[in-house]
C-alpha cells in the first residue's frame, strides 16, 4: 500500500480546519466594523466597484478603522449593490442596505460608523431578529426561501477557501472519503436527487452506470455552459461559492472512480472562470485536490475548460465533442456518455446545481434532503426570476411551491399595477403558461405535464403588455440561431417556424399559419436529433395552446391585443386630454411627426409616425393624452392644418 495513501482523512483535515477556525475567530474578534459587500457580476454591473471605492475613500477621510469583506451574490438582484454593515459597537444588529452607490456608502460611513446613526430611512432590514429594527426575515422574499445550494452564497468570501472551510466546507468530502464509493452512490440514490440541468434524470443512477461501466479511467464533468437567455444561476454559484461545486465534483469523482474532472464553463463568464480557477488552486494547495487527497489513495485533477459560447454545447454529447476539439454537434445516444463519453471513457456530466446539492446531501444525509420538496422531486429549485416582477433575482425554493406563491408572495408580484399575463419557464426549451396554471406546483413532473418544463431554472414573468406571438418569435430566433445545423428538422424546421412567426408579428399572417406552425412544431419535436431541437418548438406549442386567441387576432384581425407588435399598432393624441400649448411630445419625436392642430393641441401624422412610443413616455402624467391602439385603423382622424396656417398659428403665439 502507498505510504501516502493510508492516513485518516479526519486527522489530516483537522489541521486544515483548525487553521480556518483560527482565521475566522480572528476576523470575528476584530472589533472594527465589517462591511459585507456583494461583488458578483450582477452587483458589479449595478456599481459595486464604485461602492467599494466609495467606502475606502470614506474610511480614509473620516479615519475609520473598518474591514471590507467581499462576498458573492445573495440573489437579491433588485436590491444591488447591497451591503451588510456589521457594527457591533453601535449596539445594532448587522443591517442590510440596498442600492448602495458611492454617495450612500460615504453617507453610511459618516453617520453610522462615525456617529452611530444607522439612518433608518435607508435600512432594508436587519439580518437578525431584534427589537429595534424590522428584520429581513419578516419579508417573504427571505423567509419563504429554503437555501440548500445557495446557503453560503453571499455569506462567505468566494476567493478565500478558509472562509468556506470555517463555514463547514469540505467536511462532506471527508465524510465521503471514509465511505465506500458504492455507499456514496447509495446515499445519493436514497436522497432522490434529480439532475438540475433540465431533464431531471436521477443523479445516483447516472453515477452507478458510470461506476459499473467497464474501464479503469472515468471522467466527471461539471456542466456550467449555462445559456438560456435570462438565466444565471450557475454563474452565480460559481462566482459566489465555487468550493461547494468543487467539493461536489470531488465526491462524484470518488463515487464513480474518476481521477480526472473537468469544469466546462462558458468563456462569457470571466469572473466565474477566474473564481473557480483560483478555488481549484487553493484546494490543491491544501491537499483537498491533486494527489493523495487528505492523505488517502484518492487522486483528482480538475481542469477548467472554457466553452466558446455555443448554446448547444450544454447538450452533453456536444459538450464532449467540444472538449475533444471538434465542432460542438450532438451525437445520437446510445451509447450514453456514462458508458462511452469523453475520449471514450465513461463520463458523468452533472449540472452545477446538481453538484452543489451533493455536498449538503452528504453532509446532512439523504433523509434530511428527502424532507425538503416533494415525494418525486426532493430538494430545492433555483430560479432566476426576471421580467415584470418586483423582486427579481435568484430564488431558491423547496420543490412543490406553486408558481403563484413564487411570483406573487416571494417575488412581490407584477409592478406598476399591471395584470399578470404569462410566465415563461425553462427558457427556450420551456413553455409559456397562462394564469390558470398559477397553482401548478413547481417540480419536474407537474411542469412537464403542462407542456413547459423545469429547464435549468430560467423564469420570465410577463405582464399584460407582453405579446405571446412576439415572445415565441423571440425564443425561436434564439434557438434557430443556436442550432448546430446538423439535423434537418432543427436546422431548417426552426427557421421556418421563425419566418412564419415573423410574418405574423408583422401583420402578414395568413389563414392556415397556426395549423402549419402546429404540424411543423410537432414533427420537429418528434424528429430532431438532440434535446435542443426536441424542445425548441415548446414556446410555440404552449403559446398556441394557451393563447390561441392572440394568434388569431394577429392573423385574422391584424390586431395585437397586447399592443406590442409595431406594425399592428397606432398612436394618437386624445384631444380631450391634450393640454393647449404643451409641446412635451414634439420635442421627443425623432421624426417630427407631431403637428399642432388649429386649436393649438397636438396631433400625430400617421404617415410619418414610426411608433416608437416616445411621445407616450414624454406626455406629462397629469394629461396622459397619448393613446396606443390596435389595429391602427382605430386611430381617429385629426386634421393637419396646411403649412401656412401652422406658421400663422405659431406667429400668433409668439406675437402674444
Amino acid at each position: 500500500m502507498n505510504r501516502m495513501g493510508n492516513k485518516d482523512p479526519d486527522q489530516v483535515f483537522d489541521v486544515i480546519y483548525k487553521e480556518a477556525e483560527r482565521r475566522n475567530n480572528e476576523f470575528l474578534a476584530d472589533p472594527a466594523p465589517k462591511i459585507h459587500l456583494g461583488m458578483a457580476t450582477c452587483c458589479v454591473a449595478s456599481g459595486a466597484l464604485e461602492t467599494k471605492k466609495g467606502f475606502e475613500e470614506a474610511f480614509a477621510e473620516y479615519h475609520v478603522e473598518a474591514r471590507i469583506h467581499t462576498v458573492g451574490c445573495m440573489g437579491h438582484c433588485y436590491a444591488g449593490p447591497f451591503v451588510i454593515i456589521d457594527h457591533p459597537a453601535s449596539g445594532f444588529p448587522p443591517i442590510m442596505y440596498n442600492q448602495v452607490d458611492a454617495g450612500k456608502a460615504r453617507m453610511l460611513v459618516k453617520s453610522f460608523l462615525v456617529d452611530g446613526d444607522p439612518q433608518l430611512e435607508y435600512v432594508y432590514g436587519a439580518m437578525q431578529e431584534n427589537d429595534m429594527l424590522p428584520s429581513v426575515m419578516e419579508f417573504s422574499r427571505f423567509n419563504k426561501e429554503k437555501r440548500v445550494i445557495l446557503e453560503k452564497c453571499g455569506v462567505i468570501d468566494p476567493e478565500d477557501i478558509y472562509d468556506y472551510i470555517a463555514h463547514g466546507g469540505y467536511s462532506s468530502l471527508v465524510k465521503a472519503l471514509k465511505l465506500q464509493p458504492e455507499a456514496v452512490i447509495q446515499e445519493i440514490q436514497k436522497s432522490g436527487l434529480r439532475g438540475r440541468g433540465g431533464a431531471g434524470f436521477p443523479t445516483g443512477r447516472k453515477w452507478e452506470f458510470a461506476r459499473q461501466a467497464p474501464g479503469q479511467e472515468k471522467v466527471v464533468i461539471c456542466n456550467a455552459d449555462e445559456g438560456d437567455p435570462g438565466a444565471y444561476m450557475d454563474r452565480l454559484i460559481l462566482e459566489s461559492n465555487p468550493h461547494q461545486v468543487i467539493e461536489g465534483l470531488a465526491i462524484a469523482a470518488h463515487a464513480v472512480g474518476a481521477r480526472k474532472a473537468v469544469i466546462y464553463v462558458r468563456a462569457e463568464y470571466p469572473l466565474a472562470v477566474k473564481t473557480v480557477t483560483k478555488a481549484i488552486h487553493q484546494a490543491t494547495r491544501l491537499g483537498l485536490l491533486g494527489r493523495h487527497i487528505l492523505g488517502t489513495g484518492f487522486d483528482l485533477e480538475i481542469d477548467v475548460f472554457r466553452g466558446s459560447g455555443a448554446f448547444v454545447c450544454g447538450e452533453e454529447t456536444a459538450l464532449i465533442q467540444s472538449i475533444e476539439g471538434y465542432r460542438g454537434m450532438p451525437q445520437h445516444r446510445p451509447p450514453y456518455p456514462a458508458i462511452k463519453g469523453l475520449f471514450g471513457y465513461p463520463t458523468v456530466i452533472n449540472n452545477v446545481k446538481t453538484l452543489a446539492s451533493v455536498t449538503p446531501i452528504i453532509d446532512h444525509g439523504a433523509d434530511w434532503y428527502r424532507q425538503i420538496g416533494t415525494e418525486n422531486t426532493p430538494g430545492t429549485a433555483i430560479f432566476s426570476v426576471v421580467g415584470n416582477v418586483v423582486h427579481a433575482g435568484l430564488v431558491e425554493i423547496p420543490m412543490g411551491v406553486t408558481l403563484r406563491s413564487l411570483i406573487f408572495d416571494i417575488c412581490g408580484g407584477i409592478p406598476n399595477n399591471k395584470k399578470f399575463k404569462a410566465v415563461q419557464i425553462g427558457g427556450p426549451s420551456g413553455g409559456c403558461l397562462s394564469e390558470e396554471f398559477l397553482d401548478t406546483p413547481i417540480d419536474f413532473d407537474s411542469l412537464t405535464a403542462t407542456g413547459a418544463m423545469m429547464g435549468s431554472g430560467g423564469m420570465v414573468v410577463m405582464d399584460e403588455n407582453s405579446c405571446m406571438v412576439e415572445v415565441s418569435r423571440y425564443f425561436l430566433d434564439f434557438t434557430q440561431k443556436e442550432s448546430c445545423g446538423k439535423c434537418t428538422f432543427c436546422r431548417v424546421g426552426t427557421h421556418h417556424l421563425l419566418k412564419i412567426l415573423e410574418r405574423i408579428t408583422k401583420g402578414e399572417g395568413r389563414d392556415g399559419d397556426i395549423e402549419l406552425l402546429e404540424t411543423l412544431a410537432r414533427d420537429i419535436k418528434a424528429g430532431s436529433l438532440c434535446g435542443l431541437g426536441k424542445t425548441a418548438p415548446n414556446p410555440v406549442l404552449t403559446s398556441i395552446r394557451y393563447f390561441r386567441k392572440e394568434y388569431e387576432a394577429h392573423i385574422y384581425e391584424k390586431r395585437c391585443p397586447a399592443l406590442m407588435c409595431r406594425s399592428m399598432i397606432g398612436y394618437y393624441i386624445d384631444l380631450e386630454k391634450c393640454a393647449r400649448g404643451c409641446d412635451a411630445c414634439v420635442a421627443v419625436c425623432p421624426v417630427d411627426a407631431i403637428f399642432t392642430t388649429r386649436n393649438r393641441k397636438k396631433g400625430i401624422d400617421q404617415q410619418l409616425c414610426v411608433k416608437c412610443g416616445e411621445c407616450m413616455a414624454a406626455c406629462p402624467p397629469q394629461y396622459d393624452a397619448v393613446r396606443r391602439v390596435s389595429p391602427p385603423s382605430l386611430v381617429p382622424y385629426v386634421e393637419k392644418p396646411p403649412q401656412e396656417e401652422k406658421e400663422k398659428a405659431d406667429g400668433e403665439i409668439s406675437g402674444g
Binding site: A310, G485, T488, R491, H495, L516, L520, D523, A526
Partner: protein, 232 residues
C-alpha cells in the same frame, strides 16, 4: 445470426449490424441520405430513415438501431411517413430545384426519395429560402453548391476516411451551416482531382470537380507529377 421481422418479412443479419444497413442489404429501401456503409457511429443527421420498432414510443432512425434477435420493425407506418415527408419537404424548401442543369439528375437521391414517398419536389406549404452566394468557388479543384447540399456530411466523413483527416468540414451555424474547405494550409497541394471521393459520395451533386481549364491552380496530375503523399 439474428432473425427479425421487417414489414412482416423475416430477415437474417449479424447481431449488432446497423438496421438500416441490414434492410438495404435485403433490398428493403428506407429513404436515407447521410448514411455511408461501414460507419460505426452514423451521424443520424438527415432524419429520413425513420422506422417503427416494437417497444419504442415513437419512430426512430434505423441507422441508430442495432439488429437484435426477434425485433419487429415496420418501415411504412403513417407516423414514419409523416416524419419522412416533413423532413423531405424541409430539405426541398432550401433546395434549388433545377434538375435539368444538375449533374446529379437521374441519379439524385432526392429524386429517388420523392418518387418513393410520392412527394412533390417543390413543397407546397413552405416558402423557399436559398442561400447566397449560389456557388462557392474558393477551392482550387472543387465547386460547392450550397443550395443543392443537404448537409448530410457524407463528404466530410469520406474525406476523413480516405485521408486520415478531413479537408472538408461544417462551418457556420444553424440555418447558415455550409460545407467549407479546411484542414490544409494550401489546398492546392491536395490531390483532389484524382481522389474525388467526396464528389462520388455526394447524394445530390453539391460538390462538383472543376473542369481542368477552370482550375485556379494546375493539379499535380495535370503537370504529369506523382502526387505528394499527404502529411497527416
Amino acid at each position: 445470426m439474428a432473425k427479425f421481422l421487417v414489414d412482416n418479412r423475416e430477415i437474417e443479419a449479424d447481431e449488432g449490424t446497423i438496421l438500416l444497413q441490414a434492410c438495404l442489404d435485403h433490398g428493403i429501401y428506407i429513404p436515407n441520405l447521410c448514411f455511408v456503409k461501414g460507419m460505426d457511429h452514423p451521424s443520424a443527421s438527415c432524419r429520413m430513415c425513420f422506422v417503427e420498432v416494437e417497444g419504442e414510443r415513437q419512430p426512430v432512425p434505423s441507422c441508430t438501431v442495432k439488429v437484435k434477435d426477434g425485433i419487429v420493425v415496420k418501415t411504412d407506418t403513417p407516423q414514419v411517413r409523416q416524419l419522412q415527408r416533413t423532413a423531405f419537404q424541409l430539405l426541398m424548401s432550401v433546395h434549388d430545384v433545377d434538375c435539368a442543369n444538375c449533374p446529379s439528375n437521374k441519379k439524385c437521391e432526392l429524386q429517388r426519395i420523392a418518387k418513393f414517398l410520392k412527394a412533390p419536389l417543390k413543397p407546397r406549404a413552405l416558402e423557399i429560402y436559398l442561400k447566397e452566394p449560389r456557388i462557392d468557388e474558393s477551392h482550387p479543384f472543387l465547386d460547392y453548391y450550397p443550395n443543392r447540399c443537404v448537409l448530410c456530411g457524407r463528404c466530410v466523413y469520406t474525406c476523413g476516411q480516405r485521408n486520415a483527416q478531413s479537408f472538408l468540414a461544417f462551418s457556420k451555424r444553424g440555418f447558415n451551416t455550409v460545407i467549407s474547405f479546411y484542414g490544409a494550409a494550401d489546398l492546392s497541394t491536395l490531390d483532389c482531382p484524382n481522389c474525388h471521393a467526396c464528389v462520388d459520395v455526394c447524394p445530390v451533386g453539391a460538390l462538383v470537380l472543376k473542369e481542368p481549364a477552370k482550375r485556379t491552380v494546375p493539379a499535380s496530375s495535370d503537370l504529369g507529377l506523382t502526387p505528394k503523399p499527404l502529411e497527416v
